[in-house]
Point group: D2
Chain length 420, copies 4
Amino acid sequence: MTMLADLLSTVFERRMRMSGPARDDARSTEELAEALVGADGEMSGQNLGRLILDRFSDMDADARRAFFDYLATAMDFDPSAVRDALDAYEAEPGRATYRRFAAAAEPKRQEFIRRLNQVPQATGELVAMRAELLRYAKDDPALGALDLDFQHLFSSWFNRGFLVLRPINWESPAHILDKIIAYEAVHAIDSWDDLRRRLEPVDRRCFAFFHPAMADEPLIFVEVALTKGIPDSVQDLLSEDRSGIVAEEADTAVFYSISNCQAGLASISFGNSLIKQVAVDLSMQLPGLKTFVTLSPIPGLVAWLADQGIEARADDQDRLRGLAAHYLLEAKRNGGAPRDPVARFHLGNGAQVHKVHAGADVSDKGMAQSAGVMVNYLYDLAKVSQNHERFAASGKISASSEIRSLSASGKKLMAEELGT
Amino acid sequence: MTMLADLLSTVFERRMRMSGPARDDARSTEELAEALVGADGEMSGQNLGRLILDRFSDMDADARRAFFDYLATAMDFDPSAVRDALDAYEAEPGRATYRRFAAAAEPKRQEFIRRLNQVPQATGELVAMRAELLRYAKDDPALGALDLDFQHLFSSWFNRGFLVLRPINWESPAHILDKIIAYEAVHAIDSWDDLRRRLEPVDRRCFAFFHPAMADEPLIFVEVALTKGIPDSVQDLLSEDRSGIVAEEADTAVFYSISNCQAGLASISFGNSLIKQVAVDLSMQLPGLKTFVTLSPIPGLVAWLADQGIEARADDQDRLRGLAAHYLLEAKRNGGAPRDPVARFHLGNGAQVHKVHAGADVSDKGMAQSAGVMVNYLYDLAKVSQNHERFAASGKISASSEIRSLSASGKKLMAEELGT
Amino acid sequence: MTMLADLLSTVFERRMRMSGPARDDARSTEELAEALVGADGEMSGQNLGRLILDRFSDMDADARRAFFDYLATAMDFDPSAVRDALDAYEAEPGRATYRRFAAAAEPKRQEFIRRLNQVPQATGELVAMRAELLRYAKDDPALGALDLDFQHLFSSWFNRGFLVLRPINWESPAHILDKIIAYEAVHAIDSWDDLRRRLEPVDRRCFAFFHPAMADEPLIFVEVALTKGIPDSVQDLLSEDRSGIVAEEADTAVFYSISNCQAGLASISFGNSLIKQVAVDLSMQLPGLKTFVTLSPIPGLVAWLADQGIEARADDQDRLRGLAAHYLLEAKRNGGAPRDPVARFHLGNGAQVHKVHAGADVSDKGMAQSAGVMVNYLYDLAKVSQNHERFAASGKISASSEIRSLSASGKKLMAEELGT
Amino acid sequence: MTMLADLLSTVFERRMRMSGPARDDARSTEELAEALVGADGEMSGQNLGRLILDRFSDMDADARRAFFDYLATAMDFDPSAVRDALDAYEAEPGRATYRRFAAAAEPKRQEFIRRLNQVPQATGELVAMRAELLRYAKDDPALGALDLDFQHLFSSWFNRGFLVLRPINWESPAHILDKIIAYEAVHAIDSWDDLRRRLEPVDRRCFAFFHPAMADEPLIFVEVALTKGIPDSVQDLLSEDRSGIVAEEADTAVFYSISNCQAGLASISFGNSLIKQVAVDLSMQLPGLKTFVTLSPIPGLVAWLADQGIEARADDQDRLRGLAAHYLLEAKRNGGAPRDPVARFHLGNGAQVHKVHAGADVSDKGMAQSAGVMVNYLYDLAKVSQNHERFAASGKISASSEIRSLSASGKKLMAEELGT
């Protein structure tokens, strides 16, 4: 279809441009933005929107910063208008007064972003626009507020109900696989041959969420290994000369890598949906699968041990496993949530801390972060809801008895080493 | 794929239900709704949401009304919380204070609806839910406000950028065609043979907008006849024994019927986009097409004439054309917009009042509404933007010189008949 | 995609015609045919082929007959050339002599037909051409031989390995459904509503074979009812007000109608593949299905009884069932095969005569052919191969014990009534 | 869909095997082959066929040779049966006698191969089987005859009308691209990055023919560069740091590489169809394209010059161009066809010898074969039919006047250098 699609888009664009606004529209981008928000039909809106998006894409860093400042300030809401509308609403609650209030309480920039999104292909450009915004938003309160508006709209647009789960395999389009290579964030893919090793064997799977309006861009993906028994090392899992198994023989599905792809979708979470749905789908397809686990890094272990005044010492592996179990179950950040970010994610999903393995990731990054220790989080489909509720309500962490006893020994070890 | 899809959904549902909440959950729907809004992960949210949607679908009218009342009142926003948040924001504008304000100003029911939408297949059910709500919302201010929240969210979800244009033809799936028959609102389709006459000939086209999350439901569709010259009667256009032409011979595309399909998407407008995009696509495909017009009803003509104390009299066709032209150009409702709703729609899109025809729709409905008169609105792609701007800014109606002179004679006629 | 496909084909055809032979080529169709067979590149062949096909489609009956005569005689093989080639081959068997022999033994018309098939869309036109040929071939030995060449080539082109099984349901394209209505040969479909009743309910299925080069034309299709227990009447099965069941509750799949669609594919058999593959697919999808049976007409019963001097008498139903069983098991045509054509088909596939039902088809056709009796042929997947082998090797008919004892009583009855 | 397809095939195969012949069938492969040809239903045939294909795939070279010998001899036709059938046919020509003759004249192995092809997925395996056969067939007359039967059947199955043209680009599935890398026969693709350079830029295209029964296997593909003017060197065309152009700016499409993919389809020609159809499609899509040329190797130049006693001498480039033009126009093999195989292919398609370039392929292979000279064959859509006819009828080669005068000077040079 590519030929036809090219043909179509070429002619289409030519025709559209005939009736669209001249590219050399003399108005400033800010004036165009005002016109877009004010336009009362989407007819001219699409042309205005395309012009604004094209201008943004051509802007240098300073111009973009200025554009964001404009949205954050000139298109902010007006507190006094909110107060007036609120008074009117309380005086006579109803459709008209509520409409006035809702309009007053919403910054004009939200409507502006929605109208930009009416332009064909705009969704991906808006996600990229927010990725750009996030560079500045941390240190600037007004841009932080603007970012909340992006986040609010994106939560609505990238609603789980609109996402599509697609398998990624060696039959997937090359331009999608290109992006899998680029976006892999946990265990880097260093070549097409490496990618093929992760996708082509019958005991390997990969799945990604897509949004219909950004069909060429994976949003998040997970890589899965089908194994007999729970693996204790990522080196073995990814080894070039491992011997594969027939998928039907596997009893375990190992989620060994989960990567978010879009910086502009930060804080829009779909990871837990992805894992759960993939687990359900795989269990349908391969009834022999009984165990769904991750093989996860423990990014905060070494830093935490150092904070406690404890050296990691990769050579004493039993000691390390105890310390890691103790860290995962007991180390908290302010507010009481687990200190380890990966633990927070999986426990929040209803998983259980199941096993820890020393010498499991001997890459430079693995040794630096966790002295080579990794952890399996177990997704027991029959218990995830209950685990999740308990964790959400009371912070209670689900853990195997093996982990509990390892944690106890780790605690004792620490006390001894610290002389407390 | 149907067989596989069936297979999939069966097994899938079985598995999902295993780990989901019991259908006999003892909590009230209101308690479930609270739980859904409060749930801090979508994990359990999907199960809760499915349960709530299923319960709603089983409710009788009273229970639904009570459910809407609950959403409208118990899940409303709290004005005092808004005021406090506003104070805090003004004291120190920034991300945290803006987040607090935005949260306070948005009724909880918006988040509730968004979370329902995370459930697979929920979008269509929510559209149906709003269709139900609209029955009550007119007379109830609180429900009117609730409806605005639905409308606000739907505007975001059914953003033009997310819609897909698909041709509807004799190769379309029967279950979609079923809906075309059901939803046709202008010139009823009375059988599959009638439908075939509108879809199969090479000089007939039909296009619809779809949303990816409701793939089986057209949102709006337009029927098009390709003709030589502008037709002056819908009877001829739809006649069983008309002789067709080869598409390449046509110089005119006539949009003779536009139907909205989803009552639950009232006030979410996509009609202008549809016409414009279809016009662009057709002009690409058939370079011989020079003229894009509607053949439209004039639903308010007879009533307006009666208001003026003028009898319509279908037999004096020249007189009628003058009266109709005058009505279209001069009759206004409060606020100054054209009185005729179809005129408002097309003029708002940037179309021109181009021609009027007497004896053009002699169906019962056509005679009752407009004494048989119909009108062509012209979509001149090179002028729609400009027409639209002028109409939006100053209410100026674009009309052909023929229509202008007809209107003048109509005005004169009326004055004479009324003795003024 | 229709719009694009239209666009494509229009431009494509325009361009192709520019460089193709003029439609007003002065050569006779016979000369064109000679040129096509002689052309040593497919380049000009496609243009020649299209021209010949278009001419054929414009011919009247006489011209077509003359065209077939030409193929049958002028493009026949040359016996003396075969003899010479055979001598040469026997003198020195090898690639070159075999090539010469094979070329001599194959009538030129085979190559002619193969070259016509290189033209886009030609396959369906060639199938229609053979359907036309079959009208004349019965009474004309030379055309009979020509038909064998068509049949030989079609067997190769419509090889089972090239066919695609597709479900037909209420989501199928209307133009395909149109053809299902037209081609249903057993129990006529009298309206779109009737069709919907056979396709839309969850306990009804339909499957068809398609060939990739004739994607819009079903070749053969089977209609299936999912039931609890074996049904004893087609009226009940097709009743408008029957109460359906959930597919998962069914224990039986009833093949109640099988229709060949293409007269031009006579004697190219795919029926047995279709039934077997549908049975396998359904048993995968619905593990609850234990029984796969037909509900079949007995078209030759009344005629055979009359031949024996026995009156059918639809009111004595037990007697009729005995006679029917006896007919199915014992009535043979010359050569020893079962006299009943439907019985030959299913027994040849490895099915078993399982049950007979009186009053099972009370339509005019059913009463006239079989006095209302119908039969279930059972497809026991574990036994079809074995049944088939036995039937093929020795003519042994597989039958249930119920049928065997019915047949015995039927035989006795006949002897008594005939006084023998 | 991969997951579902996996699911399907797994369950499907399990069920099929239950009712199929045991894999440990005690019969020899020859006995199975006899049974397959004799089987009078495809029912058991599919199981037999699968068993035979699996056995073949497990055979070593000797066993395969023996299997081919068996087909060539035991399944040959019987000359005396042909003579008898011929006598009967001449005595009374008609359907029955022709059927007998056609059956006698066709070796049983043809029916054997057709029946193997009824097995799902068999087509590709049969193509591979012939590739294997071709290793032995050259030196063995009986195997040569067997190969002709394969060729005869494949010509019918891979009929142009059954082939599908698909664009190959950076959105194509990786497993297809894998094969493009493997099959490129002219200018090797040495990495995925090299492949991307040939597929991703907007001024590069690639197209392949596929057969529906071998959907994952390209049969032949052509790589195209869109350029301004005719390029004079393949190095420039494939250079890593070339600067691309917008497709709409191109006036020339250069077919710079055509590769057959399936050794088992030797002598089944589709190259000329491919070039012609791609030229037509591209000219539709990009009306600016005026010139369609190849940039082709001249594989036989150096060898021919050596035969004449002339040294190639890559440094004198004008001389070389003259010699090359002379070679292309005048060097013939026995029978009068051009000596150069690439020239035979393109001239047979109706192309013209248009330009020659020295220093155009300085790779080792290019220098060794043609001292770096390359040639453009021009496909003038308005003249290909006529060129083809003349070349086919009289061997007349179409050449530009530039080439004609170069050839004349080359001839003169040779005469001088040889002192003749």
